[in-house]
Symmetry: C6
Subunit: 84 residues, 6 copies
């Protein structure tokens, strides 16, 4: 899987859900979630302005981790759970 | 996949879940979520009136990103994860 | 798919998850969510009494859009994603 | 499908996920959600004491509708979406 | 399925997702959710100290019922929905 | 499955979703959720600074248990529910 530079306007970097390993698949899940956030709020200053309270509030982190879990379910299914 | 103009009254632009690439599929997931929002609140002024606080509140953005993740799971399954 | 009149006491109008198109499937997902709401709170006056703040609060709309996304996942699977 | 009387101590009335129709399946999804609630809080007086504010708060109703949507996804899959 | 005594340090009592009936599967879903809670907060006094407000707040109960619904989806799929 | 030491920078310890038993799979689900949290907030002092209120608030624990349930759904599917 080729990863393109982290460009907030791209929604699926590399334009593929296929990864070599679960670790890479998990990283893709995190990337997908982050790129959605960038797409909704492209102004990085506003986004980072809100971040200090965000990443110190356990509930906010859990909510973000929930999104990653949902994205990972899709990526894992796409890769047939890296079973073979 | 033909995309019809962004018309809030249409729920599934193009009337198809099939896309050529994951990138297009992700864009469709975002569109599906947005069109549901327009369907629930068709008055764009009210919708945009609420937007400033919405898109600067990290928790609101995470909630929206969660919906996109769920929509994308469906679109990705519809496209057999663009495996072939 | 035959749609019966919008009767809050019916949970699945038409008593089928099969639709001709994704657009109709999406409409069914919205209907399923709305009929659950009517089932929980059958008094339309109370329901509409709460609506003004509801549909102008972005977080509430996102929560509702989330439910539609979950219902649509089921309807789309039922229709094999309208692939054929 | 035989429905046993609505007994809060039973988790799956009829002890089956199979129903004749989507309408019955939807009713089962509502029942499953309600029986979980009864299991967590068996004291009906406390449960009903909290209900007035619950069922007039749109966000609470949407949260409950979300649970029904998740239960229905399972029931619908169990019944192969009543396709045949 | 053999159930081991309710030991908060065990995550999957009986170390199996297979149950004889939907009723047992539902009970397992409740157990899985409870054992996660015990794993996160092993101090039962703190856990029960928070419980009075928890189980009288309809929103908290609905959130807990949501988790049970998600766990049950997994258990039901593991048992092929007890179809045979 | 080999478990590497609990290193917050690794997203999928052992780089595999395959486990011998449901119990190990459940432990992996907890680990996946925790490693996402560490990835979002790598500063353990800030993370533990927020923890006291987190793990005594039933709603926060339920939210975390929800994430574990979603991760477990993926791990269980990857292992074909440990059926064989």
């Amino acid at each position: 899987m080729n990863r393109v530079p982290d460009d907030g306007l791209v929604l699926v970097p590399g334009n593929s859900l296929i990864t070599s390993t679960p670790e890479e698949g998990r990283a893709l899940a995190l990337t997908l979630a982050r790129h959605t956030v960038h797409n909704i709020q492209p102004d990085l200053d506003i986004l980072k302005g809100g971040r200090p309270n965000y990443s110190t509030d356990p509930d906010s982190i859990i909510r973000a981790a929930h999104v990653v879990a949902v994205e990972f379910a899709t990526v894992a299914a796409a890769n047939d759970y890296w079973r073979a």
